[in-house]
C-alpha cells in the first residue's frame, strides 16, 4: 500500500518547516515538499533583523536551513520536487509532483509568494540582462553604475538603500508622491547623496537592445513621458502568491491569496493555508511561523474528529 502521511506540507519556508516541527512533535508522520531549497523568500534575504532571538540579526539562508534541520531532527522528511497539481476533494489529499504522487490525511499549503512582475514588454526576456527582482542577489554587479528601483514599499526602499552603497546613482520610481515603506527606512534614504526620486511615475517601457539601457517613465499627474538612461532596473513592487496550481481547487482572493483566517483553515476540511500564501494583514517571518503551529493545532483537532 502507498504510504499515507498524516500531514503533507507544500513549501519549505518558515511556515512549512514550523508546521513540520509541530507536526512531528505531535507524533505525525510528516512530509515537506519543497521545489528548491529550504527557506523560501527568507533565504533570498541578506540579514534578517526582525526575527526575535538573534540579537545581531541572522543570515536569511542560514535561518531557513536551521528551520529545516529543526523539523528534520524530529523526523520530518523533505521531498525535493515540484508540485504540479493537487486533488483535495477526497478524504486523502493527493499531491502530484514531477517525481510521483505524495498522499496525506491533512495538507498544509505554505507555498508563499514570489516577486511580482511589472508585466512590461520584454521583461521576461531581459531578466538577468538588466532586469532584476533581488537587489541583494544582483546589486553588486552595478558598482559605479546607474540603477532604477521601481516601487515605494519596504522592499523597494531597502533595495534602494542597499544599492545606494554600491551604485553611482539610484533613481527610485514610485507611482505615489510618498513612500509607503515603514518610517525606519525614510531618513537614511532621504539623506543618501546619490538617490533621486521620480514621484507619481510609472515605468511604461524598458529600453533595451541586448541589455537594458534605460526606461521610459510616465508621470501619472500630467502624463508626460521621460526616458531615463540606466544600466539596470530593480523591480520591487510586491509579491505574487504561488497559488497557480490551486486555481479552481481552492477559494483564492482576487490577487491569488488563499482565503483563510487566523485558524489557517481553508474551505476544505483538512486543508490549511499557512504563511504568506493566505489572506492576512502582516506578512512576516514571525506571522508565518505562527501560522505553521496553528495549522498543526487544527489539523490535530480534525484528525481526532475524523477518526
Amino acid at each position: 500500500m502507498d504510504r499515507i502521511y498524516d500531514m503533507v506540507i507544500i513549501g519549505g519556508g518558515p511556515a512549512g518547516y514550523t508546521a513540520a516541527l509541530y507536526a512531528t512533535r505531535a507524533g505525525f508522520d510528516t512530509a515537506v515538499v519543497e521545489r528548491l531549497s529550504a527557506g523560501g523568500q527568507v533565504a533570498l534575504t541578506g540579514v534578517i533583523d526582525n526575527y526575535p532571538g538573534f540579537e545581531l540579526g541572522i543570515d536569511g539562508f542560514e535561518l531557513g536551513m536551521k528551520m529545516q534541520q529543526g523539523a528534520e531532527r524530529f523526523g520530518a522528511t523533505t521531498h525535493y520536487t515540484e508540485v504540479l497539481s493537487v486533488e483535495l476533494s477526497e478524504k486523502i489529499k493527493v499531491v502530484h509532483t514531477d517525481s510521483g504522487v505524495i498522499k496525506g490525511k491533512t495538507l498544509v499549503i505554505a507555498t508563499g509568494a514570489n516577486p511580482r512582475e511589472l508585466g512590461l514588454q520584454r521583461e521576461k526576456e531581459l531578466v538577468g540582462k538588466g532586469v532584476h527582482y533581488c537587489a541583494h542577489c544582483d546589486g553588486r554587479f552595478y558598482k559605479d553604475k546607474t540603477v532604477v528601483v521601481i516601487g515605494g514599499g519596504n522592499s523597494a526602499v531597502s533595495d534602494a538603500l542597499y544599492l545606494s552603497n554600491i551604485a553611482k546613482k539610484v533613481i527610485l520610481v514610485h507611482r505615489r508622491d510618498t513612500l509607503t515603506a515603514t518610517k525606519i527606512y525614510h531618513d537614511p534614504l532621504m539623506k543618501a547623496q546619490n538617490v533621486e526620486f521620480c514621484w507619481n511615475s510609472v515605468v511604461e517601457q524598458l529600453v533595451a537592445d541586448q541589455r537594458v539601457s534605460g526606461v521610459v517613465i510616465r508621470n501619472v499627474k500630467d502624463n508626460t513621458r521621460t526616458q531615463i538612461d540606466c544600466d539596470g532596473v530593480f523591480i520591487s513592487i510586491g509579491r505574487q502568491p504561488a497559488t497557480a496550481f490551486l486555481k479552481d481547487k481552492l477559494q483564492l482572493d482576487n490577487v491569488g491569496y488563499i482565503i483563510a483566517d487566523e485558524t489557517t483553515k481553508t474551505e476544505i476540511d483538512g486543508v490549511f493555508a499557512a504563511g504568506d500564501v493566505r489572506t492576512k494583514a502582516l506578512r512576516q517571518i514571525v506571522t508565518a511561523v505562527a501560522d505553521g503551529a496553528v495549522a498543526v493545532h487544527y489539523a490535530e483537532e480534525y484528525l481526532n474528529q475524523s477518526k
Partner: protein, 102 residues
C-alpha cells in the same frame, strides 16, 4: 566526477573539453546560489558524461565579465566551446538537467 573550481588559467582546458560543460557562476553571499550549489554538486557526481565547473564571480571577475554575468546564479551550458544554453536564477535540479539534455 567532482566539481571543478574554474579560474582564468584552467578555463581554456574546460572550454575545449569533449564533454558537455555546465558552468555555475556564483558568489558566497548570494542566497539563490547557495540553493543551487548542492544540486550542481549532485549533477557532477551523478553524471560523469558532463564536465561541471563553478565560477566564483568575486574571484574571477574576468570570466564573469566575459560571460556578461549580471545576475547570479547563472548557469551556462557549453558544447564544443560554444554557449548552447543559459539561465539565471535558482531552479530545480530536473530543470538544470534538462538544460544539459537539450
Amino acid at each position: 566526477m567532482s566539481v571543478i573550481s574554474v579560474n582564468k588559467d584552467n578555463f581554456d582546458m574546460i572550454k575545449n573539453s569533449d564533454k558537455t560543460v555546465l558552468l555555475d557562476f556564483f558568489a558566497d553571499w548570494c542566497g539563490p546560489c547557495r540553493m543551487v550549489s548542492p544540486m550542481v554538486d549532485e549533477i557532477a557526481e551523478e553524471n560523469s558524461q558532463y564536465l561541471v565547473g563553478k565560477v566564483n564571480v568575486d574571484e574571477q571577475p574576468e570570466l564573469a565579465q566575459a560571460f556578461g554575468v549580471s545576475s547570479i546564479p547563472m548557469l551556462v551550458v557549453m558544447k564544443d566551446g560554444k554557449i548552447v544554453n543559459q539561465s539565471v536564477g535558482a531552479r530545480p535540479k530536473a530543470q538544470i538537467l534538462s538544460m544539459l539534455e537539450d
